[in-house]
Point group: C2
Chain length 451, copies 2
Amino acid sequence: MSSAEEIARAAKSAFEKSQLVPGSERVNALHAIRRELESQKDEILAANAEDVKAAQAEVSAGRMDDAMLKRLDLARGDKWDSMLQGILDVAALPDPNGKVTYASELDDGLELYRVSCPIGVLLVVFEARPEVVVNIATLAIKSGNAAILKGGKESNRTTVLLSKAISAGLSQTQLPATYIQTIQTRAEVSSLLDMDRYIDLVIPRGSNSLVRNIQNNTRIPVMGHADGLCSVFIDESADLDKAVRVAVDAKIDYPSACNAAETLIIHEKVLTTVWPKVAEGLLGAKVRLLCDEPSLSALKSSSSSIPENQVSLADDAAYTTEHLSLTISVKTLPNLQSAIEWINSHSSHHTDSIVTESDENASIFCRGVDSAGTFVNASTRFADGFRYGFGTEVGISTGRIHARGPVGLEGLVTYKYMMKSKAEKGHIVGDFGTGKKQYKHAPISATSVPF
Amino acid sequence: MSSAEEIARAAKSAFEKSQLVPGSERVNALHAIRRELESQKDEILAANAEDVKAAQAEVSAGRMDDAMLKRLDLARGDKWDSMLQGILDVAALPDPNGKVTYASELDDGLELYRVSCPIGVLLVVFEARPEVVVNIATLAIKSGNAAILKGGKESNRTTVLLSKAISAGLSQTQLPATYIQTIQTRAEVSSLLDMDRYIDLVIPRGSNSLVRNIQNNTRIPVMGHADGLCSVFIDESADLDKAVRVAVDAKIDYPSACNAAETLIIHEKVLTTVWPKVAEGLLGAKVRLLCDEPSLSALKSSSSSIPENQVSLADDAAYTTEHLSLTISVKTLPNLQSAIEWINSHSSHHTDSIVTESDENASIFCRGVDSAGTFVNASTRFADGFRYGFGTEVGISTGRIHARGPVGLEGLVTYKYMMKSKAEKGHIVGDFGTGKKQYKHAPISATSVPF
């Protein structure tokens, strides 16, 4: 048996053994892991410093970019403390399992309950940031899933020690030590992607190409987000102040986030009224505008002081590019319907916002735009698990199956049906049918399974 | 552009155009389709008779089995009438869309709603039974999804006419005529499996090999069920009468269904008490028993009149075989825990049942067995969308993602987040944070989106 198969079997077995462990013990495990991390802090940060040092050499040699180096560094700012605080925050969230979402009395004494439960074994593949090991382990333990984690090779020294602390924490509880496992090589990932018998969900957290590569190479369901091409549409009736505030915030609040706006769509009727003020706001915030012909000429005729280096003509590729920087593409369209069609064919179905004073147009936009988030007079940057009130975020899904948009702990659970007969003779299907018993289907009001 | 790509683009475009069509118009479409089918009944049944005739030649030549021939025949029994009645039944179900499942006031005047909506474009691939075209079209239209359907080539003459009737019905409504499309060739399916840009979910309805073949060849999520290896566990404290009734019903009520029991697990303490009576019930119903050593010898010492041709020793493969016939594999195990482990490693995670008088064991079984359905003193045959009270059944999913177990219309919808700011200046993220505004996250009680 390959070592990857052993890992996968151990994960499945750990998951199955954990099914009868109560939620309170999961919370104990999270506290134990936090204590282990705290007590091994010096050793972990020393290993992390070595990872950072090795990465610095790579940066100097031009083989790694500076942003990745920053993501590696666990000693930066309050990263360590917020990693540990994150464990406590997730521990304090309500248990996502055991919730009844459908209950029906099918016949006298035959009760059916649909109840939330963990998915099983998660395979999580991510890049660079070593604290993701702790984040994901925390989410998996809280939601009742076993997990196999693979980080970037740049952070191997750090993640090995983080994993040891997690195992040490688990070993103080009823949960199996193999509940959370870490692997180091791409070859192992490749083998694991074949093991749909043991692994129930793959979660890639990283680049577009990582996600697609995984989707192309597995039968196992994949939950990930490909990219974030979000847009803001300035409608005919847009309020000037709202338009400026929403467009600028959506672009500049955190340009490298997936929920930042990459495209601004201008209703042609506001080209000479609202648009120049929005442009002024963006230009003042150092944003570079890639304009189509109408928006460019409207801008030039509205003011003589356009900074030439911040404004240029867009090519077609601009509208399907995730800039992730202080650049925004600008498109002029004649009406709401064409804006909806444009967004549906150009956006990544992540989050799109309309600025409008028309309730009717707001309603049409929210229903007509086929994205995970459709907003009215609000920045696309609100698309986030914490802001939505989930307490934590597993990621943001641009898929439509299972979980869509910002995903909280709910995205890591599924459900099962439990049924119990209390009848003297049990219940059989042969007793029902034409001329025999009929199904009752009486709703039961319950928040948990009573047996 | 390939013809498959044209079909996929047309489906996506039809889906997007349909987003603003109200649910009532979908119901109108279903009634129009039913009328078209009724008015073209003679023509359709004549085409079906030709399909059946061609299939009879295949059966005679030994290239097709008799069961498939029966599945083809739309004139058999009440098949035609129940197909049309099915349309009316689905039309009368509640609209699965537009339901709010989470709503929160993030800040004064900033409201977030999670609301159910269609998934998008479905690709449904099935075998033999031509009425599935009508079933699936009905489910897709009711749930707001566009669909591309591919039936078995044996029923091509019939499905072409069924599709024409569906298009004719759609053309009397606001829904695009390309909302439901039918394709004829495997090559088209193969091309479509590549088009994750346009197709959102693949639903294979057919053999295990069909499902796996599709899973192996697409990035698009697949909702299907691989197989149905269900079991009944007769616990130490089982009531004799319940044990006999449940085991016999689970096996014989409809042996070729995926929710029929394929394995019977006997607690070793009831080998000489309950088991011989259960065996008697099964043997009396013409069931063939594939026993392990302990159950076989217990049976032989309990009675001298065991019909030799119905009882034999099981090989290992028996316990992972979906018999789909009047055959059941019998396994003896020492306790509840080993039964749970056996089921988790041998069953297909479909539906498993325990016969027990112990509330504690019932509870442990329901939580410890990792299947879509875990039942107590009830036949596995209850695992069914109609019996569960869903009014219709899209299929039964042995996957854990998105939908698990019997799937009703709910399995064909996803959700999106709609957010609206009512504030004078709209809402931006930059106003929140340390020293600034804090999120409110006040639950909103709502069943539909108020804007």
